[in-house]
Symmetry: C2
Subunit: 242 residues, 2 copies
């Protein structure tokens, strides 16, 4: 069984301007890895319709799944749903099921439906709704594109709604080894081991902490025994590892 | 004077797997905004040569500047310099000036030059070196692409080396207003103001804190008087704003 692939598209001027530090990418990366889906690419674009259309079309043609975050609220700068509809060449309009979900939520909260809130019931033709247990306004899945909110609590709840519906491959396992030697000292041995074991990926990440220079070596693969064996080989090669 | 544009390319399996949370994007976004360069797109790709080549070529043709982070160390998974050379159709090899910088650093530290460390002196033909005051191994600028390390302290130091050499436009100013009303309540007024003032961008970001639902409205533009005027208009429209 091969591992399905995915991309993420983050939509938001506030990330690109440096005002807000994105949190959804790191969350999704971990959730996908645990589910056995490999996140292969991320793009961040502005609240700009042609930019969103171009990015979503490039990503959905390349990867098995695309997850978007941001731009599905009630205000003028929320243009993601329209852009996704355009990318797929589908129409978009207020859908009765989405409207009913919103109306029930506002009734419970004693809030009024208005034209702005009704925008959140605009769903492209053919899409399936994604449950939003936090603030009701749904996300949606169209083809292989999963469109979700940017607010982290809502994004995370929507990921929890969508992920169980997607087939995952074998989970990607990883183990790491902390070696108190610089990357330049261990590079030759690492390269030999990596070359001999194409079934795993071996990453090398330098650190400097409390005056100690060292390297964290991370071995990743879907075969746990292979990952174990390579960690053992590394530990033998570098007795100072732990 | 128009505002120059930029993109960032983050290179690293460790970000996509969720092991590491990227910090460089948020840092660069803020530094560019203050310098008067507009960050328009970010891509994150794996340690995969064709992926790096394709991304860097797409970005450098679209935006005025491209900043990359990651993949310029001494180990087998550090393939950024080769990929950049390939993207530009340039040769790459050990360059005397880069080698001399590394040799002087290792001499000071009592460390030995070896084949792995010498890889960090491999610089594409025609590139200008970027100073690395932390660990010596230089970044480089080739055309409009600035290639920097992924370790945040080194990335930040390299940005500090490069940015003063680039022309910035007028800095993008921003002011924000905290309104204790939901986005759906203020969307109509916001939309009217945004439509009447295309010279600024108005972003709307919902928050929920301590049981209060509200919206942070951010007005951005290069004309400080225009930003002030719109913040005043918003404060008049929403007396509960602060």
């Amino acid at each position: 069984m091969t591992t399905p692939t995915a991309a993420m598209l983050v939509i938001g001027d506030e990330i690109l301007s440096g005002r807000t530090r994105d949190a959804n990418m790191h969350f999704l990366a971990g959730a996908l890895t645990r589910h056995g889906i490999a996140l292969k690419e991320v793009r961040i674009v502005a609240d700009d319709r042609p930019a969103i259309v171009a990015a979503v079309n490039a990503l959905r043609e390349t990867w098995d799944h695309v997850f978007t975050s941001g731009g599905i609220g009630p205000t003028h700068d929320d243009i993601t749903a329209e852009a996704i509809a355009e990318a797929f060449g589908m129409s978009i309009g207020v859908r009765d099921d989405a409207r009913a979900i919103l109306q029930a939520h506002y009734d419970r909260q004693g809030m009024e439906m208005n034209e702005a809130r009704l925008r959140m019931a605009r769903i492209p033709e053919g899409a399936a709704l994604i449950d939003n247990p936090i603030s009701a306004a749904p996300g949606f899945t169209l083809g292989n594109v999963h469109v979700m909110a940017g607010v982290p609590t809502i994004f995370e709840a929507m990921v929890a709604s969508v992920l169980p519906t997607l087939a995952g491959g074998p989970p990607l396992l990883s183990q790491s080894l902390r070696i108190e030697r610089g990357e330049g000292d261990i590079a030759a041995v690492l390269s030999d081991i990596a070359g001999a074991h194409p079934e795993v990926s071996i990453g090398s990440y330098p650190f400097q902490k409390d005056g100690i220079y060292g390297t964290n070596v991370v071995v990743r693969g879907t075969d746990g025994a292979a990952v174990d064996a390579i960690i053992s080989a590394l530990a033998d090669a570098f007795p100072e590892a732990r």
